[in-house]
C-alpha cells in the first residue's frame, strides 16, 4: 500500500476493475489508504438493516411533515399583537414557528448523520500527511528562491536606491491619501462642546434656563415630596432629548439640609431643601438613577458607582472618581407660582472623564 503515481494501474487495468476497486486504486494514488472497509450490514436484507433504513426514512418524513406544518402555521396561526383583554393566541406564533423549524432542520440533520453511521460502509482510512521534507523539496526551494531573487535583481531595486526611496514615497502617499480623505471627512472638532450643556445662559431667559419635566411642564418646588427626586431637563428646544443635560432634582428630608457638606464654593447652589446634580455618571456616562432615601446614596446601575448626596454627590464606592456636577438652582415667580430655573450652566464637564478635561 505504498501508493504513489508509479503504482497507479493502467487504463486497461482500471477499466477491468469494479467501481470499488477503481475507487481504492484512486485513493491509493492520492496516498489515502483504505485500511478497513466493509458493509455495515454484511448480510443484506436483514431485519436490522431494514429497521435502520426505516428509521432514517422516518426522520426524513418527519422533517417534511414539520415543514408542511410550518407553512400551515405560518399562514393560519394569528400573529398580530393584541392587548391582554383580547385573545392571546398570537403568543404561540413564534414558539410554534421556531419549534417546527427546529424539528424540520434537526430531523433532517439527525437523519443524515444516522444514514452515514448506520448505512454507509464502515471505513477507516489513513492519509499520508507528506509533512516531512519531501524528496525534491530542497531543490524546489532553491529554484523558487532563485526565481524570486532574480526577479528582484532584474528590477534593479537592490542597487537603485533612488528608485527604492522614491517608490516608497509614492507608495506612502497612495496609502495615506485615502486614509486622510476618510478620516478627514469623519473628523469633528470637539472644541468646548463637552464643557457645556443646554443650561448655558441664554438672553431669552433672563432669570435662568427654565427647568422642566420630560413632558415639558415646568418644575415647581411644591411638586416633589420630601425625600423624593425627579429627573428634570433644561426647558430649551431639544433640552429633553439632549444626552448631556438630564439632571436629578432631589428634595432632602426635613433636617437633612443642615447635614449637607457642600463642595467648596457650592454651598449656596441648592435652594432650600433642594439640590440638583447631573444625572450622567462621571464614570461611564450611564444615568445614575437609583436613589436610596435612607442612605441618601445615588447608585449607577451600570457599574455600581455610589454617590453620597449629602456630600454633594461625592463618589463613595465603585469605580467613579468624580462627584456628580452640581447645578445651581434658583426660583422665579410666574403668575404667582414658583418655578425652578438654572441661573448658570454646570461649572465643570458632566459625564465621563476625557483627556482634555483637566
Amino acid at each position: 500500500m505504498s501508493g504513489g503515481q508509479s503504482n497507479t494501474p493502467t487504463e486497461e487495468e482500471l477499466r477491468a476493475m469494479s467501481t470499488e476497486q477503481a475507487m481504492i486504486a484512486g485513493a491509493d494514488a492520492d496516498d489515502v489508504h483504505v485500511v478497513h472497509r466493509r458493509a455495515r450490514f454484511p448480510v443484506p436484507g436483514t431485519k436490522a438493516e431494514k429497521r435502520a433504513e426505516r428509521t432514517v426514512a422516518g426522520l426524513f418524513v418527519l422533517a417534511a411533515l414539520a415543514g408542511v406544518a410550518f407553512i400551515v402555521a405560518f399562514i393560519v396561526v394569528p400573529y398580530k399583537y393584541k392587548t391582554p383583554s383580547h385573545s392571546q393566541n398570537f403568543r404561540f406564533y413564534t414558539p410554534i414557528l421556531g419549534g417546527l423549524l427546529g424539528i424540520m432542520l434537526a430531523a433532517l440533520g439527525i437523519g443524515a448523520i444516522l444514514w452515514a453511521k448506520w448505512l454507509m460502509p464502515e471505513e477507516e482510512l489513513v492519509q499520508e500527511r507528506h509533512d516531512e521534507v519531501q524528496p525534491g523539496e530542497p531543490e524546489e526551494q532553491i529554484m523558487t528562491g532563485a526565481t524570486l531573487l532574480s526577479g528582484v535583481n532584474d528590477t534593479g531595486l537592490p542597487r537603485r536606491s533612488l528608485l527604492v526611496r522614491t517608490l516608497g514615497l509614492a507608495g506612502g502617499a497612495v496609502a495615506t491619501v485615502p486614509l486622510v480623505a476618510l478620516v478627514g471627512a469623519l473628523l469633528k472638532k470637539p472644541g468646548k462642546i463637552l464643557f457645556h450643556t443646554l443650561y448655558r445662559p441664554d438672553s431669552k431667559y433672563p432669570n435662568g434656563i427654565p427647568i422642566v419635566y420630560s413632558d415639558g411642564r415646568r418644575v415647581s418646588p411644591n411638586d416633589i415630596e420630601a425625600g423624593g427626586l425627579a429627573t428634570v431637563f433644561p426647558g430649551v428646544p431639544g433640552g429633553v432629548k439632549d444626552a448631556s443635560s438630564p439632571t436629578l432634582l432631589i428634595r432632602l428630608r426635613p433636617g437633612q439640609g443642615t447635614l449637607v457638606k457642600a463642595r467648596k464654593g457650592q454651598s449656596s447652589w441648592g435652594w432650600e431643601d433642594y439640590l440638583a446634580f447631573s444625572k450622567i455618571c462621571t464614570h461611564a456616562g450611564c444615568p445614575a438613577s437609583l436613589y436610596e432615601q435612607q442612605t441618601t446614596r445615588l447608585l449607577c446601575p451600570c457599574h455600581q458607582s455610589q454617590f453620597e448626596v449629602l456630600k454633594d454627590a461625592k463618589p463613595v464606592f465603585g469605580p467613579a472618581t468624580r462627584s456628580l456636577p452640581k447645578l445651581k438652582l434658583a426660583v422665579e415667580v410666574v403668575d404667582g407660582v414658583q418655578y425652578f430655573v438654572a441661573p448658570q450652566d454646570f461649572q465643570e464637564p458632566i459625564g465621563p472623564g476625557f483627556w482634555e478635561r483637566g
Binding site: R38, D131, L186, K279, P352
Partner: protein, 547 residues
C-alpha cells in the same frame, strides 16, 4: 476489504447521463485529479473537533438570517411616532431603527423568530469560537506549523465579539443605547486621541444622529466581509496542513486516520449543520432573547437596573465594575479610570493570546512540527497557565453580573465588588497551583497503571496471610511483574472494561455491544479474518503503545 459487486468491464465511452455529464465537465475544466484528492481527504474523528464546525455553521446561519433581517430593518436615527401593532408603545416617539425592529418583531410574519435565531446564533458563534480556541490551546494544536491559524482564529474571535456588540446595539433600544453610551465613554477615556476619536465615530457629541447608520454598514458589510475572508483563509490553511489528531493506536505524526470527505464526512457534516440550525431555530422560537419592546426606545436620561449585555461583553463589564477608582491627572490632562479595564486590559489579554505560541516555542526551544495533539495533563505548565487565564476571565465574567448575584443571594453589592477584586488577584495563582498538581497526579496514575496494570477488584490472599489486589497488566511484563509499556501520550485504559478499546474501534451498538445473530457473526468473523490476512505487516493499524 470486501467486494460486493462483480467486476464489470468499463466501456471506453460513458453511457449513463451522470457519466456523460462528468466527462463533459472534465473535458472542459480538467478537475478529475484534484477533485478526487479532495473527495478522498481524510478527517479524524473526535467530539472536540466539532467546536470549530459549530462556529462555522453559526456564521452561515448568521448570514442567512441577517440577510432576511436587512430586508426590513431601517438603520436610521430619524424620529418617528410609532404606529405599529404593539399597542403599549403606540404614539411614542422613537428612532426609525427601533420602530423597524418593533416592526420586525410584531408586524412581519415570522420576523421575530428570525430575529431571535439571529441573536442566538450570534451568541453561539462567539461561544463556539471560544470553546474551539480553548480546545486548540489545551491540546497544543497551535504549535508549529499552525501558529498563523491560531492568529487568524484569535482575530476571528475578537471581530466576532465586536460584530456581536455592534449587532445588538443597532435596534437603538434603551439597553443597547446604554451600551453605546458606555462605548462612547470608553473611547473618550483613551489618552490624547480619545475625544477626537469619539467625535469621529459618533460624528459629534454622543449620541448624534449618525451612529446607527454607520454601524449598520460596519455590521452588514465591513466586518462580515473580513470574517468571511478570514474564515476562508482559516479553512484553506487547515485543509493544506491537514487536521491534528490525538495520539492513539495507529496514529502517527505522518498520517491522518479517519473518514474521508465523500460520502461519509460530508453526510455527517451536513447533518451536523442542520442539527445546529435546528437547535438555534428551536431556541429562537422557544427561548425569548432581547425583547427590545420591553426596554423602550433609547433615552439618555433612563436606564434599567440589572441590565446585562450579551454574555461575551460580561468580562469587560466585570473588569469595569471591579477596577478601583484610580484617575490620573497630570499637567491639566486626565486619564479616566475607565481606560485601564476596557482598553488596556483587553489589549493585554489579546496580546498575550497572540504571543503565546511564539513564547512557548521560544521558552521550550521546540522548533519541531507537530501533528499529534498533547493531552493537557502532559503539559502541566501550559495547562495551568490556561486554567489561570480561564479563572481570571471567569471572575471578571461573574463580576459583570455581580448586582444580579448580590440580589439573588442577598449579599451586599459592595461585598461582591470587593470579593471580585480580591478574587481576580488570588484565584488565578491558586488555579495554577491546583491544576499543576492535578496534572502531575494524573500523569503519575497513568504511569502507575502502565507499570502495575489495571485494578481488577479481585482481592487475593497469599499463603502468608497477606492480602493483595490482582492487577491486570496492559502488556508484557518483566521479571518483576512490572509492565514494560511506556507512556506514549495516548489515553491509558484504567478500567477492565476499557481494555482492548483500541481494537474495538468498530464495536457495534451505542450503549451496549450488539450481539449479532450466528449467521451474521460468522460472516463478520470471515471478513475480519480476510482483512487481517490482507493487511501487510507493519501497517499503521498495528497497535503500538510502546515506543
Amino acid at each position: 476489504m470486501t467486494t460486493t459487486e462483480a467486476p464489470s468491464r468499463r466501456a471506453a465511452k460513458p453511457r449513463t447521463i451522470a457519466g456523460k455529464s462528468a466527462l463533459w465537465v472534465d473535458e472542459r475544466f480538467r478537475v478529475a485529479g484534484p477533485l478526487r484528492k479532495q473527495l478522498n481527504k481524510v478527517f479524524p474523528d473526535h467530539w472536540s473537533f466539532m467546536m470549530g464546525e459549530i462556529a462555522l455553521y453559526s456564521f452561515i446561519i448568521l448570514i442567512l438570517t441577517g440577510t432576511y433581517l436587512s430586508f426590513f430593518f431601517d438603520a436610521s436615527m430619524g424620529d418617528v411616532i410609532y404606529n405599529g401593532s404593539y399597542t403599549p408603545l403606540k404614539g411614542v416617539e422613537m428612532s426609525r431603527a427601533y420602530a423597524s425592529t418593533l416592526n420586525i418583531s410584531f408586524d412581519v410574519r415570522g420576523g421575530l423568530v428570525i430575529r431571535q435565531i439571529h441573536h442566538w446564533a450570534a451568541l453561539m458563534f462567539v461561544a463556539a469560537m471560544l470553546v474551539h480556541m480553548l480546545r486548540i490551546f489545551f491540546t497544543g494544536a497551535f504549535r508549529k506549523p499552525r501558529e498563523v491559524n491560531w492568529l487568524i482564529g484569535l482575530t476571528l474571535l475578537v471581530l466576532g465579539v465586536i460584530e456581536g456588540f455592534v449587532g445588538y446595539s443597532l435596534p437603538d433600544d434603551l439597553l443597547s443605547g446604554t451600551g453605546f453610551r458606555i462605548a462612547d465613554s470608553i473611547i473618550l477615556s483613551i489618552p490624547v486621541i480619545g475625544t477626537w476619536t469619539a467625535f469621529l465615530v459618533f460624528g459629534g457629541p454622543f449620541p448624534g444622529s449618525l451612529i446607527i447608520g454607520r454601524l449598520y454598514i460596519v455590521h452588514v458589510l465591513l466586518i462580515p466581509g473580513i470574517l468571511a475572508a478570514l474564515i476562508g483563509a482559516h479553512l484553506a490553511i487547515m485543509v493544506r496542513q491537514k487536521h491534528t489528531d490525538f495520539p492513539g493506536p495507529g496514529k502517527t505524526e505522518h498520517t491522518v486516520v479517519g473518514h474521508r470527505l465523500f460520502p461519509k464526512f460530508a453526510a455527517q457534516a451536513t447533518g451536523f449543520f442542520f442539527i445546529v440550525f435546528g437547535m438555534l431555530a428551536a431556541l429562537g422560537g422557544l427561548a425569548q432573547i432581547n425583547p427590545v419592546w420591553l426596554f423602550g426606545p433609547y433615552n439618555p436620561a433612563q436606564v434599567s437596573s440589572g441590565s446585562q449585555p450579551d454574555w461575551y461583553m460580561g468580562l469587560l463589564d466585570g473588569s469595569t465594575r471591579l477596577f478601583p477608582s484610580w484617575e490620573i491627572r497630570l499637567w491639566g490632562h486626565t486619564v479616566p479610570p475607565l481606560f485601564w479595564p476596557t482598553v488596556v486590559l483587553p489589549g493585554i489579554l489579546i496580546g498575550l493570546a497572540a504571543a503565546y505560541p511564539f513564547l512557548e516555542a521560544r521558552l521550550t526551544k521546540d522548533r519541531a512540527r507537530h501533528n499529534l495533539l498533547q493531552r493537557p495533563r502532559d503539559v502541566p505548565v501550559r495547562t495551568s497557565l490556561g486554567a489561570m487565564a480561564c479563572t481570571f476571565c471567569a471572575v471578571l465574567f461573574l463580576s459583570g453580573g455581580n448586582d444580579l448575584i448580590a440580589k439573588a443571594f442577598d449579599i451586599s453589592l459592595n461585598a461582591m465588588t470587593w470579593g471580585g477584586r480580591i478574587a481576580t488577584l488570588v484565584l488565578p495563582p491558586l488555579a495554577y497551583v491546583i491544576t499543576y498538581r492535578l496534572c502531575l497526579g494524573l500523569q503519575r496514575h497513568d504511569r502507575e497503571v502502565l507499570e502495575h496494570g489495571v485494578e481488577t477488584g479481585i482481592i487475593k490472599r497469599l499463603p502468608t496471610g497477606e492480602f493483595i489486589e490482582v492487577h491486570q497488566p496492559l502488556g508484557p511484563v518483566d521479571d518483576h511483574g512490572h509492565g514494560v509499556l511506556s507512556y506514549a501520550g495516548a489515553a491509558v485504559p484504567k478500567r477492565m472494561n476499557r481494555l482492548g478499546k483500541g481494537r474495538l474501534a468498530h464495536l457495534r451498538g451505542f450503549f451496549y455491544p450488539v450481539k449479532e445473530k450466528p449467521e451474521i457473526a460468522e460472516k463478520l468473523a470471515a471478513l475480519e479474518e480476510a482483512e487481517h490476512a490482507d493487511a501487510e505487516p507493519g501497517t499503521e493499524r498495528q497497535v503500538e503503545l510502546s515506543d
